[in-house]
């Protein structure tokens, strides 16, 4: 473990040394990236991967990561909006969970208040059933939902999060009332996995990567993924290909503070674009098991708007927002 860390560290140092030398004149950005979550989670690892690749490619001269955990990211977002207003060197990593958290926490701030720089990654969610379940296909699951929505027990991650939203969307698409969806929230993929393996639930939702091992070993049967297109190496087909008009991606993106515009914003956009287009970033995506879901600033801005609206609507239909 230590040895591995040392090697990684040495490699990073070597790469960044080379990178800095070749880009001395090109960039002198000194960035702060905020991960509005504790160390070790998805946003934190995205922020730290950005840091590593930005310094390795010379997209920025120095990058610091700050963790501000709390309340699904809303504590960090509120702080970021206050401190990064008009600032040319502060970034925030966030994702769909923060969209849901700002709505269900009645937070005064949300992601429409900050400036989208780029959408980075998007992970597919997977819908599974226990291996002994009589449900073999997504159509079977829909039939079960239609016949008794309350007895269809879903398990997944935190209430109002992406997993919960997908369960509600599938319920709605199957012709039942999403307000009645019987969704049992667990704090993470590990705990809800135990409930799935123990056969206590009808169906489960999680990030594909979290349950990959059990899906491949045959302990869980994957019915569908929520990504719009098929993904190489994943046997389960997209919901869209199976006749359900649903796409939901657990995306992560990077934002600048409010009122960052003009040359400042262009510099940040260029730095992030350079990072994302690099070989090192592709290598990071591969080792972390993330899917590339890059979208530049303008497209991302429109996406945030539609995503906020859609999540709000779903949360309202479940009864978690008003």
């Amino acid at each position: 473990m230590r040895k591995l860390l040392k090697i990684c560290f040495a490699a990073t140092m070597a790469i960044s040394a080379v990178g800095v030398v070749s880009n001395v004149n090109a960039q002198s950005l000194e960035l702060n990236i905020m991960a509005p979550a504790g160390a070790g989670g998805g946003w934190d690892s995205a922020a730290r991967s950005l840091q590593e690749v930005m310094m390795a490619t010379g997209a920025a001269k120095s990058v610091q990561v700050v963790n501000v955990p709390g309340a699904g990211g809303t504590v960090g977002l509120a702080q970021f909006i206050g401190s990064a207003k008009g600032s040319p060197n502060q970034l925030l990593v966030a994702g769909i969970t923060l969209v849901g958290a700002s709505i269900s926490n009645n937070s005064p701030v949300d992601l429409t208040k900050v400036t989208p720089v780029a959408r980075l990654t998007g992970d597919p969610l997977v819908i599974v059933v226990p291996k002994d379940s009589p449900i073999k296909t997504i159509a079977d699951l829909q039939a079960q939902i239609k016949s008794d929505v309350a007895k269809t027990i879903w398990v997944g991650g935190s209430a109002g999060g992406a997993d919960h939203i997908l369960a509600a969307l599938v319920t709605k698409e199957s012709g039942a009332d999403p307000a009645q969806v019987n969704y049992v929230a667990y704090s993470g993929g590990g705990e809800s996995l135990a409930a799935m393996l123990g056969g206590q639930a009808t169906a489960g939702v999680s990030g594909y990567g979290e349950w990959q091992g059990q899906i491949e070993s045959g302990d869980l049967r994957a019915l569908a993924i929520s990504y719009p297109e098929p993904i190489e190496g994943i046997e389960a087909k997209p919901l869209k290909a199976q006749g359900l008009n649903i796409e939901l991606v657990n995306w992560r993106g990077v934002f600048a503070g409010p009122r960052v515009e003009g040359a400042d914003l262009d510099a940040l956009k260029a730095a992030v674009e350079k990072t994302v287009k690099s070989e090192q970033w592709q290598a990071v995506l591969k080792t972390r098991g993330w899917a590339d879901y890059y979208a530049p600033s303008d497209e991302f801005q429109a996406f945030i708007g539609s995503e906020t609206e859609r999540v709000h609507e779903v949360l309202k239909s479940i009864g978690l927002a008003n």
């Binding site: 473990m1 709390g70 309340a71 269900s104 209430a159 704090s187 135990a194």
Partner: protein, 499 residues
């Protein structure tokens, strides 16, 4: 045998030079802090938790094991030398141990405690290595209803065994439960009892409560008493080695203590206190010199100390396999695991097999190191106690606040710490046990979501708790454990009236 293979791999991890150094550092600071009066292993681990943040999970957990066993050992030292048990499990050790120290036999008392702890922990760690994986298979079958049953047992036994009366235990537990309700509700995502303070949305940190109640509360209490009755440390007289007679009188209690301690500690609601009291009673019954009890009988130190350490290894079984903290120390350790997003639970053995076996192997190594380091150092440890108490507790206040601020730099956190310190002082002053409050904060939210998940899965039918035999049995046990003391007390009162 898979376990053996993994265990050897664990040893390979643990004896890497860097990890050996972590283990040694852990044992040394664990003992050094644990030897301070009033500071047991739970607080030692809580105080030193931030120290381990900077390491990778493997190294951090190895250091943790060292701190844990070091703190356990240090806590007994103060119980024996100063009559200040670091935690409730060392209370029994203080009974005979301090008597021995007063008659100048502090050396043998410390030695039998150290060697007994070593023997017990060694045997119990073997038990942990080979029994825990079997328990995992049972663990996955545990539904929310079973977890709820378990929580009930833990609540009842913890509050009934700590403190002078079940009512006081339950009061303290209720305080912890109330704190546990704060923050975003896991099942609905809505905020509860946060009073509009965004810092409270994630609930109250367990370490903040533990450090506030244990360390700050104790410091305030000592300060309030010091004016009237200053406490003085006591030097060790005579040889620090055990005589042949001491050995003969010690080895059977060590083994009996282990046999009592490990299974009870492994019970999710067993705890460390019950086996120490049981062991003390057993040794008193079996001793050839029962008249020595109360005046410094070495069996009364050897047995309970072994039971205490065996149960400490035992508590790791539910912690690692079920994610259930059944003692204050296990609770703090759980917080340590969570720092790394490692959720102890049914899957820990499969998802983090390297860490678990590394931990088991480092427990072995921490044990050996403890013995090697501590026996020759008994004389030195006693000198640590010569620090004037005002200095000692001022230092504790500084370290406690710094540790909390380092973990979460916010004013709200510091205010909470101070508030909990005052509450801890009042609880001590009015004789309310501290540990149930910490247990309540940890288990409360778990029991809350376990119960509501069960109800969600049964569509609101509470009978689901009794329909599954396992949860029905556990709920039954909890009810009996709650009611039995009252009935027995009633019966004996009745008998007294007869006489």
């Amino acid at each position: 045998m898979d376990s053996l293979f993994f265990l050897f791999q664990g040893f390979a991890t643990a004896i890497e030079p860097a990890n050996l150094i972590y283990a040694a550092v852990g044992v040394i600071i664990g003992t050094a802090v644990g030897v301070l009066p009033g500071i047991g292993p739970a607080l030692t681990v809580a105080l030193l938790l931030p120290v381990t943040f900077k390491l990778d999970p493997g190294g951090s957990i190895i250091m943790f094991a060292g701190i844990y066993y070091g703190g356990m050992y240090g806590g007994s030292t103060t119980a024996i030398l100063l009559n200040t048990p670091g935690e409730s499990a060392s209370v029994v050790t203080a009974l005979e141990g301090n008597q021995m120290a007063r008659s100048g036999r502090g050396g043998p008392a410390l030695a039998t405690a150290a060697i007994g702890s070593f023997v017990a922990a060694l045997i119990a760690t073997v038990g942990l290595a080979f029994l825990a994986p079997i328990l995992v298979k049972v663990a996955v079958k545990f539904g929310p209803w079973d977890y709820f049953g378990l929580m009930l047992i833990a609540f009842v036994t913890v509050s009934a065994t700590f403190g002078s009366s079940p009512l006081r235990g339950l009061t303290s537990l209720a305080f912890g439960l109330w704190l546990g309700l704060m923050g975003i509700d896991q099942l609905t995502g809505q905020a509860r009892l946060t009073f509009g303070v965004p810092e409270l949305l994630d609930g109250v940190e367990v370490t903040t409560l533990a450090v506030g109640l244990f360390a700050i509360g104790e410091a305030l209490l000592v300060a309030s008493r010091h004016l009237f009755k200053p406490e003085k440390p006591m030097p060790v007289k005579g040889s620090i080695w055990m005589t042949k007679e001491d050995w003969n009188r010690s080895w059977k209690p060590w083994l009996r203590g282990t046999v009592l301690g490990f299974p009870i500690g492994a019970l999710p609601a067993g705890g460390a206190e019950i086996p120490t009291f049981l062991s003390y009673n057993v040794e008193r019954k079996l001793s050839k010199k029962p008249e020595e009890f109360g005046h410094g009988a070495i069996e009364g130190v050897a047995g309970p100390e072994a039971a205490n350490n065996a149960s400490a290894a035992g508590t790791l079984v539910p912690l690692l396999t079920l994610g259930l903290p059944t003692s204050a120390t296990a609770a703090v350790m759980l917080a340590g695991f969570q720092q790394y997003n490692i959720q102890p639970g049914p899957l820990l053995f499969t998802q983090h097999a390297d860490l678990v076996w590394g931990l088991v192997a480092s427990l072995f190594i921490a044990n050996v190191m403890l013995l090697v380091l501590n026996l020759p150092l008994v004389g030195l440890w006693v000198r640590l106690l010569a620090i004037p108490l005002p200095w000692l507790y001022a230092g504790i206040l500084v370290f406690a606040s710094m540790g909390t601020i380092a973990a979460n730099p916010s004013v709200v956190e510091l205010l909470l710490l101070t508030g909990f310190g005052v509450v801890g002082f009042l609880m001590r002053k009015f004789d309310y046990p501290i540990a149930p409050a910490v247990v309540g904060l940890i288990l409360g939210p778990l029991a809350d979501s376990a119960l509501r998940r069960s109800m969600q899965m049964s569509l609101g039918d509470p009978m689901i708790l009794l329909q599954h035999p396992s949860s029905a049995i556990m709920i039954g046990v909890a009810v009996v454990a709650l009611v039995a003391p009252f009935i027995f007390r009633g019966l004996s009162k009745f008998q007294q009236d007869e006489d």
